[in-house]
């Protein structure tokens, strides 16, 4: 996935490594993020997503390897890099002593945005994240989704060309998630480069042009969501719930009707080009299923195929 020299890579990581004492948090990863794309890090808890983001955001020194962000060195030019990026951290860190609007005003000062520019820009941002009614409210009483949107607005006060989003929708209800996705999509259309970490496959599929899958501090695969599914999974997946007896019977001949089978504790997944055909065969052979669901393959299946584990426990 590396680009040739002189390409429009906004972030270039080579053998990027982060170690905390004995613990390898990021183990020699390589990736490039191109200008204008939405790039994802998909992985389970502890995979090293936040550690990677923090190195890009210049708030954690690299242990080894090299990293360029907007053509600059995070070690020697951290203030310059930070002036041009926006960060949405995994956990909100809004200033709860200030109101919604004051949070943005104060942050604009940290970035030296001139007053006369900051004023209208903040009005616009408050509207963009739909917090106009809450502009004078303190932060504390806001809902999780509102806080998240305010954090996103705050990350935009310096009009960054690169936005780092660490699990932007974790903990939000579906409606709040869709609102955030919608805003992120609009930002991307305006040309802002997005780097997103998530352990939701649907988020990665919705938002990311390209992504890397991380597990245990390493990148295990990379590509576009569609690409990865095509490469590592079949088109469809048949999900079955069965009694133990039926599981035993199925096991004897199931390999004949599917490319690959995952025996999870609560479910059986059959990877196949046609889920309906497979299900019909199973019923023909007299196996009783408690539930049966045919669905399109997802990034979850890619992760399962590669690591043998589920993405979200």
């Amino acid at each position: 996935m590396s680009s040739p020299p002189g390409s429009d890579a906004l972030i270039e990581a080579r053998s990027l490594t982060k170690r905390f004492d004995q613990l390898m948090a990021v183990d020699s990863v390589d990736f490039d993020v191109r200008r204008g794309e939405a790039f994802g890090f998909l992985g389970p808890n502890g995979a090293g997503k936040t550690s990677t983001m923090r190195m890009i955001g210049c708030t954690s020194p690299l242990t080894a390897g090299s990293l360029r962000v907007i053509g600059m060195d995070p070690v020697t030019q951290s203030s310059e890099i930070k002036a041009r990026i926006g960060v949405v951290p995994q956990m909100d860190n809004l200033d709860i002593e200030l109101t919604v609007r004051e949070n943005l005003e104060m942050y604009a000062r940290y970035f030296d945005v001139p007053r006369d520019i900051a004023g209208p820009r903040i009005d616009e941002l408050i509207e963009f994240v739909q917090l106009t009614e809450k502009a004078k409210s303190k932060v504390e009483p806001l809902s999780g989704g509102m806080k998240r949107r305010l954090t996103i607005a705050r990350a935009l006060v310096n009009e960054p060309e690169l936005l780092l989003l660490d699990e932007p929708t974790t903990g939000l209800d579906p409606q709040a998630r869709h609102l955030v996705w919608d805003r992120l999509y609009r930002l991307k259309q305006r040309g802002v480069t997005l780097v997103i970490t998530t352990h939701y496959m649907d988020e990665a599929e919705q938002l990311c042009d390209r992504l890397v899958v991380m597990d245990n501090a390493k990148i295990v695969t990379e590509g576009s969501p569609r690409d990865l599914i095509a490469r590592h999974s079949t088109r469809e997946v048949l999900e079955l719930r069965l009694s133990d007896d039926e599981r035993g019977r199925l096991k004897e001949w199931v390999d004949g009707i599917s490319d690959r089978v995952e025996w999870l504790p609560d479910r059986v997944l059959l990877y196949t080009s046609s889920g309906d055909e497979a299900l019909a065969t199973i019923h023909e052979r007299g196996i009783e299923t408690e539930t049966a669901l045919v669905r399109r393959a997802s990034l979850e299946d890619v992760f399962l195929t590669i690591t043998g584990r589920s993405l979200v426990e």
Partner: protein, 252 residues
């Protein structure tokens, strides 16, 4: 100056409650000087032990320094831990062009302003009680602030290493309170046994108190330089250590 942005943030928040805060800054010395200075002082007729001044003068100068020490220490504990761990304000600041040194110096400067806001009204009340009789006394204010800052810098360095606030209970009970009582605030350390005297002389409060007294109620002596030097060196060490510790903490 990026540190000024941190000060600005703190002043904005502090400003909301300034009336109440100012009220406390005035009320506290009025109460102490009335009760301890005049009340207790009226029973202390022997002034030789206090260098020939009234007890209220002796007590008020000690109390000015001790109050600034306490305020300096306190403001380097819970309020800093709050912003470092619980509300994660520093993480947010670090995602902007601010760096760790800006945060440390900005917090220290904010504490300095806060201390001035304590020391100036305190000295004003002292003047009303007739404690001062030389214009030099005005220098007692920056000295008291310096004492508070020196303590704050060291305690901030300590706070940067903490994972919980449990240690603060110990800090206040077994360090701050004994210092407060035994560093010459209420009575001259000459009254202590020899070992107590040696310990007292090693504390920052003793040096702050001595310097304040030399400026405000006694004659200035050569030892003033030694007291001043002690406080400046302490501030320097606290700042260097604090920036290092905070860097380790915030940028792992």
């Amino acid at each position: 100056m990026n540190a000024a942005k941190v000060v600005r943030r703190n002043v904005t928040v502090f400003w909301r409650a300034w009336r109440f805060s100012f009220f406390l800054s005035v009320l506290s010395p009025v109460m102490f000087l009335s009760a301890m200075g005049l009340g207790l002082g009226s029973m202390v007729s022997e002034t030789d032990a206090f260098g020939g001044v009234d007890y209220v003068d002796f007590f008020a100068t000690g109390m000015l320094a001790a109050t600034c020490m306490q305020a300096g220490v306190f403001n380097a504990t819970y309020p800093i831990m709050m912003k470092m761990m619980w509300q994660r304000n520093y993480e947010a600041m670090l995602a902007s062009p601010l760096e760790v040194r800006d945060i440390f110096l900005g917090e220290l400067a904010s504490i300095g302003l806060m201390l001035a806001q304590v020391a100036v009204p305190f000295a004003g009340v002292m003047a009303l009680f007739g404690v001062f009789d030389s214009p030099m006394a005005i220098l007692a204010i920056p000295v008291a602030v310096l004492l508070g800052l020196a303590c704050a810098s060291v305690i901030m360095a300590f706070t940067a290493t903490l994972q919980t606030d449990e240690a603060y209970t110990w800090l206040f009970r077994f360090v701050v309170t004994p210092l407060f009582l035994l560093s010459g605030t209420f009575f001259p350390i000459d009254e202590l046994p020899l070992w107590g005297k040696v310990v007292a002389q090693a504390t920052p409060l003793y040096h702050g108190v001595e310097l304040v007294r030399q400026l405000a109620i006694y004659e200035l002596e050569a030892s003033a330089l030694w007291h001043l030097g002690y406080l400046l060196v302490m501030l320097g060490i606290g700042t260097a250590l604090g920036m290092r510790n905070l860097e380790r903490r915030l940028v792992p």
